[in-house]
């Protein structure tokens, strides 16, 4: 019903003013002061890449494996497992809060090795987590609530960009220890040792178990041994982040060396695992958080508390990816296929690294590029500075993050030579 038709002009004007004012007043929404969140730096790289029309463009920001054709890779073992699961008509009822036991058990064996004391004595309090992020989050929340020492976690410098927000948001203070040596593009072992030796006792220290993100720089086995000993002497609590088991060297046992060494040295550590990369299960969000305990009683108490932490987060975990992972780990034929595929992915990356170094030499580069083959895993800290990185983007349509990090997953046998040439041009 239109009131305005029956009103005089003056009244209509009055109505108009009132409606304007009330519209203004009503835009005093609760949310008018809400700030725009900062854009994600890494996503920004992919977005800029998409807008670029250069046919030679390369996206080296992507943190997901790509085949030599530049395509995402769905593992055959995963597809087979999924088809089996679909035919088994399994239920959709709530999983236990800590995840399905067939996943948790197999996951612990994968990390610690079948013969580990942790497995033999069932000393692991393992819960399924929402991939690596969710597993780190649960672990951090547990530490923030129950850790009897200093609720400060020391991260390597640099570390995965999301570690700090996860830890802070869970309630831990965040500090760092030296890790990457930009002069050698390698491990700053002495710096790390010096810093770790100064960390106050009863603090928390985080290590990347293998394939350090973002640098690709890992300690050597004898360096891990020393670190284990120093950390023991400093009475530090160890949090291991293992997001690339199998994906780094191609061998799941070799990649678990650090975790297993620390266990042997009797660190009752915390471990976050992800199956995003090594099983290509990215979007299914499969991971686990484990607290290695003193005895079965401690396992029970810890598990009861972890479940209480999870309930107000999301109640219980998504089952699909965990069923896939469990099937692969537990069924011999699928497991064999998977181990081959993981090696295949790792080998392709290793081959690309070697090719890149060879191509750089062919371009006549005088620089030392050994770090490219010394580093391991998805990422490579090229040593390029910000200006050089920006030139790579602007002049060559090679997209990387400003810290000179490239994702080797985006390198193929077809774009390798172009990439080498581009890197050479901006660094000569």
């Amino acid at each position: 019903m239109s009131v305005s038709r029956t009103l005089s002009l003056a009244n209509k004007h009055q109505l108009w003013i009132i409606s304007k004012v009330s519209r203004l007043a009503s835009t005093n929404s609760w949310w008018s002061k809400v700030e725009m969140g900062p854009p994600d730096a890494i996503l920004g790289v992919t977005e800029a890449f998409k807008r670029d029309t250069n046919p030679k463009k390369i996206n080296l920001g992507v943190g997901a494996y790509r085949t030599d054709e530049g395509k995402p890779f769905v593992l055959e073992s995963v597809k087979k497992a999924e088809q089996l699961i679909a035919s088994e008509n399994l239920d959709k009822e709530y999983a236990p809060i800590s995840g399905i036991p067939e996943f948790c058990q197999a996951n612990a064996k994968l990390a610690f090795g079948d013969d580990s004391r942790v497995i033999k004595d069932q000393l692991f309090a393992t819960t399924q987590g929402i991939s690596g992020t969710g597993s780190l989050r649960i672990g951090a929340a547990f530490l923030a609530k129950f850790f009897p020492g200093n609720k400060v976690i020391y991260l390597p410098n640099p570390s995965w960009g999301n570690h700090t927000p996860i830890m802070k948001h869970a309630g831990l203070d965040v500090k760092s220890y030296r890790y990457y040596d930009s002069k050698t593009c390698g491990f700053d072992f002495n710096g790390a040792k010096e810093d770790i030796e100064k960390i106050p006792e009863n603090s928390i220290i985080l290590f990347h178990a293998c394939a350090h993100n973002p640098t690709g720089v890992d300690p050597r086995p004898e360096q891990w041994k020393e670190l284990s000993s120093i950390v023991k002497n400093r009475k530090l609590f160890v949090f291991m982040d293992m997001a690339y088991q199998g994906f780094a060297s191609g061998n799941i046992d070799d990649d678990a060396f650090a975790v297993r060494k620390f266990i042997d040295d009797k660190h009752n550590l915390m471990l976050a695992q992800s199956y995003a990369k090594n099983m290509g299960l990215y979007g299914e969000r499969v991971g686990a958080c484990t607290v290695v305990c003193q005895d079965k009683d401690e396992v029970e108490r810890v598990m009861s508390q972890i479940k209480i932490l999870i309930r107000p987060m999301y109640s219980n975990p998504p089952i699909h990816g965990a069923r896939i992972a469990a099937k692969i780990l537990n069924q011999q034929d699928l497991r064999s296929i998977w181990l081959k595929e993981v090696k295949q992915m790792a080998d392709r990356i290793i081959t690309m690294r070697q090719q890149l170094v060879d191509n750089l030499k062919k371009n006549g580069s005088k620089k030392n590029w050994q770090h490219i083959t010394d580093q391991i895993g998805m990422f490579c800290f090229t040593g390029l500075n910000q200006q050089q990185s920006e030139r790579l983007i602007k002049d060559f349509s090679v997209y990387l993050t400003k810290d000179g990090r490239i994702s080797m997953a985006g390198v193929t046998s077809k774009n390798n030579a172009y990439l080498a040439n581009a890197i050479h041009e901006v660094t000569k």
Binding site: W30, V34, K92, G132, F237, G283, E284, K307, M313, P318
Partner: protein, 409 residues
């Protein structure tokens, strides 16, 4: 010496604890009326056939990858969800003032919605007395001060609407009010349309933030649109800015795939990009991005008219069975001459009935009769079947006539 030697074992969550006791119980006539999971007449929680067929298809489709979803979720899923809740013609959708974020089922939606509110300065929240057990846990974990609004009138076994309104009227401005959109858990007792209008008016005049929990769309009346009436009234007629946390655990029977979403509905479309970036930040530090499987299933079904029609029939069938069981149970109780009034069993809607049994009676029911119900008297109607209704009613009758309230409990 373990680091965590001195941490306590906290008491387990009641519903899971009772379910575990149930599993350990060797008595052949045991019945579990605790956990909120739909069961058919054979006591089975079947996966919907429409889900099975989509899953088979997906498993055979070699073009599908396992790539990460965006932090805010699968767009095809989110768009379909907005329409499901607000209706296709919603002015909020047309004007781009509503945004859906994929979440880890209902719990996850409530959690990140409250995280958003907390980080934007909101501090006080109200929940119904009683409410779903996890509401208070989530609120407390996020950091809210939790208060209650009167809801269930124990004596008259109905909604205490005057107490409800009075408590809202006394609430500080900018309080977040957790409302059950339909099929209230645990009471099954929903406001009428007129009562919703009163609630809406009070929220408006007191400047309260409506936050709807929609876990049972379709279960209350059998009709998805009807069950969204309150949300749509608040959004379209009363023009509130509001939030909705929806779960697809029950109405898609997808409990373990953790699929749900959070709606933020604002006065101006300008808020939407800000909301999205903040939600992306919150998600990133909690779990980076949501699980894909459930989103693909729900999106495929909602966006395909044939599959969607099939799904709606499935929901209707679930509703009808529950409705029939309410009447069956009620009739049996009346036939036995059970003391007290039992009309509330058939007036309540959704999965649950708030029987009115006291904690002592619940305990005896469990220990002597092997019927497991929540200590507040809540039962899952879905677990009643034509086969077990007689026995359950008989045991309720026994307990109600023989067991008085224990003042010690």
């Amino acid at each position: 010496m373990g680091l965590f030697n001195n941490i306590a074992t906290d008491p387990p969550i009641e519903v899971f604890h009772l379910t575990e006791l149930f599993h350990q119980d060797a008595n052949p006539s045991k019945v579990n009326l605790t956990i909120g999971v739909y069961q058919d007449e054979n006591g089975k929680t079947l996966t919907l056939p429409v889900i099975r067929s989509v899953e088979q298809q997906m498993a055979q489709d070699l073009t599908l990858t396992k790539m990460y979803l965006k932090g805010t979720g699968l767009d095809a899923f989110c768009t379909a969800c907005l329409k499901l809740v607000l209706g296709e013609q919603s002015p909020a959708i047309v004007e781009n003032r509503a945004c859906s974020i994929q979440t880890l089922s209902g719990t996850g939606a409530i959690r990140i919605g409250l995280d958003f509110l907390y980080r934007n300065g909101f501090r006080t929240a109200y929940v119904s007395a009683p409410t779903w057990g996890n509401h208070e846990s989530v609120l407390q974990t996020v950091g809210f001060e939790v208060r209650k609004y009167r809801y269930w009138n124990k004596e008259r076994l109905c909604l205490d609407i005057d107490g409800f309104i009075a408590d809202l009227e006394a609430a500080p401005e900018k309080s977040v009010i957790l409302l059950h959109a339909c099929a209230h858990n645990p009471t099954g007792c929903d406001p009428t349309h007129e009562q919703w209008i009163r609630i809406s008016d009070t929220c408006k005049s007191r400047q309260l933030i409506p936050f709807f929990d929609l876990a049972y769309q379709g279960f209350s009346s059998g009709d998805l649109d009807q069950d969204a009436w309150a949300i749509r009234y608040f959004a379209h007629e009363a023009k509130h800015e509001l939030f909705v946390a929806q779960s697809f655990a029950k109405n898609f029977s997808l409990y373990n795939e953790r699929i749900g979403h959070l709606i933020g509905l604002f006065e101006s479309r300008d808020i939407i990009p800000k909301f999205r970036t903040q939600m992306a930040t919150i998600v990133r530090r909690n779990y980076s991005n949501p699980p894909a499987h459930g989103a693909h299933l729900v999106a495929t079904i909602l966006n395909n008219p044939t599959l969607c029609g099939e799904w709606k029939n499935n929901v209707r069938a679930m509703y009808e069975r529950i409705h029939a069981m309410r009447h069956l149970f009620y009739n049996k109780l009346k036939q036995l001459g059970t003391p007290g009034t039992w009309e509330h069993i058939v007036q309540q809607t959704g999965m649950f009935a708030y029987t009115g049994l006291n904690p002592r009676q619940c305990q005896v029911l469990m220990q002597q009769h092997h019927i497991y119900i929540m200590s507040d008297g809540r039962i899952n109607i879905c677990a009643i079947t034509p086969k077990n209704a007689d026995e359950i009613a008989q045991k309720f009758f026994d307990v109600i006539t023989n067991v008085a309230d224990d003042p010690k409990l």
